[in-house]
């Protein structure tokens, strides 16, 4: 057990994670998650779709953060990416961070989810840079907008897609780089991402539905082996970006879009 990684996985990390319900609020509003049983099903489905994808992207980012200090390693290990994306952003580490960020965009068709991911990425980046200085985090911050540029207007403004990098780098990219900065491996970055994909949603459900916290905790414990299995799969081949999992969850996409239009909501997403 590494305390730095425990800090990164902790929901008390001041990175704004509490403002996001992982799709539980819109699902509850739609009457699709109402009790412990439906929550358990929701968490399991979320883990093997969005959870797997974000864990794989976090593992890729962690691996790249470790290697990006050494451009020779980058060229050797990520030759495919450099070849495929040679026209974009040059052949330096900075251009490749943009490519990895675009890999998140490509796996996130829902504009509402892209906005939520960038908001969480931006908040986590601020904490991580203060806590674990690392060149990879600096490279990500170099392209993030200043805080005053953050759009905090009504739904219409929030719907606006700020384009690649606008609004902050995507959350799994920052999470992977932060895990690397804290000394973690890609497998550990994947584990933190997979774990976070269900714990945040579970605690939101307790608040939204008034579920018994002990029962929800037990439901999470039942999922523990699945979380480990997803993390192992997610970190299997972190350097082949194009081939990383891209499992979609059409229900989550639709719920996320509906959520942004609802009048009353407790959570950002």
């Amino acid at each position: 057990m590494d305390t730095r990684l425990l800090l990164l996985a902790d929901s008390r990390l001041p990175a704004g994670g509490h403002a996001h319900s992982g799709g539980v609020e819109p699902a509850a509003t739609a009457g699709a998650v109402t009790d412990l049983a439906s929550l358990s099903d929701f968490l399991a489905a979320r883990l093997s779709t969005a959870g797997l994808v974000t864990a794989a992207l976090a593992a890729a980012s962690c691996s790249f953060a470790h290697s990006s200090r050494d451009h020779a390693v980058v060229r050797a290990g990520l030759g495919g990416q450099l070849h495929d994306h040679g026209g974009e952003g040059g052949r330096d580490g900075e251009g490749l961070w943009r490519v990895l960020d675009a890999e998140v965009d490509a796996r996130t068709p829902s504009p509402a989810q892209r906005t939520a991911s960038r908001a969480q990425g931006r908040a986590l980046l601020r904490v991580a840079r203060t806590t674990w200085p690392h060149p990879a985090l600096d490279a990500l911050a170099a392209h993030s907008p200043r805080d005053h540029a953050v759009v905090r207007g009504g739904p219409r403004e929030q719907l606006h897609d700020h384009g690649r990098w606008g609004g902050g780098p995507h959350h799994p990219v920052v999470l992977g780089a932060a895990a690397a900065a804290a000394g973690g491996t890609p497998r550990q970055a994947a584990a933190i991402a997979a774990y976070g994909s269900v714990t945040g949603a579970a605690s939101a459900a307790v608040r939204l539905l008034g579920l018994d916290p002990l029962a929800v905790q037990q439901a999470l414990a039942v999922l523990a082996d699945d979380v480990d299995a997803v993390a192992a799969r997610a970190a299997a081949e972190p350097d082949d970006w194009a081939a990383l999992p891209a499992v979609s969850a059409p229900g989550l996409d639709l719920l996320a879009e509906l959520h942004l239009r609802s009048e009353v909501r407790l959570f950002e997403s």
């Binding site: 779709t49 890999e103 829902s110 891209a246 499992v247 979609s248 229900g251 996409d253």
Partner: protein
């Protein structure tokens, strides 16, 4: 016919569309192979099933090449049934579209039959300025039938950058039957539009999400109780994605385009 006695196919069909010096599209390659037959008719190239399936163990591929400035529409004559057999069946489509080219791929739905074990892989490479209309429709089993294992993934790059990587995995009913994925829907589909002049803000409806991508494209995602309702929702989404009177010119042209030999 049983799977054990059925011959396994390994087939590669191909279509190439090129723009000639008069600006017209010519089909310079139209290659059928085994159970995958391609025929030119009514302004489109039709995929015609020359045999049942794919069956488990079959490995089928289709290569589509659309040269710069050329236009190609691909349809199919009937629904495709993915059938059980000896191992996994696979259908790989690779498409390349050159600058100013347009590919409109909209075959009839695929039905994931009980006991099937199928993987559909689609890799699309778009040059800068290429446009695309790509439809995927999946029916979860025949009437009152639970589908077999079915995975479909589409990867689209535009000018070397990833635009969409999207996989629908039906392997665990406990996962895909949940509200997070398909819920109780019996049909799911997507329509991807790539080009300019598409809607910039998301639109939602019952079982329908019209989602502008980070790049120049819109993904229309729909679920429904049956294939007819699915098609209606995708059409509704396409109308919403292409604002009236403001159809992307490339898409507009493609609807009237007729390939010539």
């Amino acid at each position: 016919m049983t799977a054990k006695t059925a011959a396994r196919y390994r087939a590669r069909a191909a279509v190439t569309a090129e723009r000639d010096r008069h600006g017209r599209t010519r089909l310079t390659r139209l290659r059928s192979d085994g159970p995958l037959a391609v025929r030119e008719a009514e302004g489109a190239v039709y995929l015609v099933g020359a045999a049942a399936g794919p069956l488990g163990g079959d490995d089928l591929g289709l290569d589509l090449e659309v040269g710069p400035g050329a236009r190609l529409a691909v349809r199919s004559a009937a629904t495709t049934l993915t059938l059980p057999g000896d191992g996994e069946s696979r259908f790989t489509v690779r498409a390349r579209v050159g600058a100013g080219g347009h590919l409109d791929f909209a075959p009839e739905p695929v039905v994931a039959v009980a006991g099937c074990h199928h993987r559909a892989v689609t890799e699309i490479t778009l040059a800068e300025g290429a446009t695309l209309r790509w439809r995927d429709e999946l029916i979860l089993g025949r009437y009152r039938e639970r589908p077999g294992r079915h995975t479909s993934r589409i990867d689209v790059t535009l000018a070397g950058l990833p635009l969409l990587r999207h996989e629908l995995r039906l392997d665990d009913p406990g996962v895909y039957g949940g509200v997070a994925v398909l819920g109780t829907a019996r049909a799911a589909g997507t329509l991807l539009l790539v080009g300019t002049g598409l809607v910039g803000e998301p639109v939602t409806g019952e079982g329908l999400a019209v989602m502008p991508l980070a790049g120049p494209g819109v993904l229309i995602s729909a679920t429904a109780g049956d294939s007819a309702a699915l098609r209606r929702r995708l059409c509704q989404g396409e109308s919403a994605a292409t604002p009236a009177g403001d159809l992307p010119s490339a898409l507009q042209d493609a609807r009237a385009a007729t390939p010539h030999h």
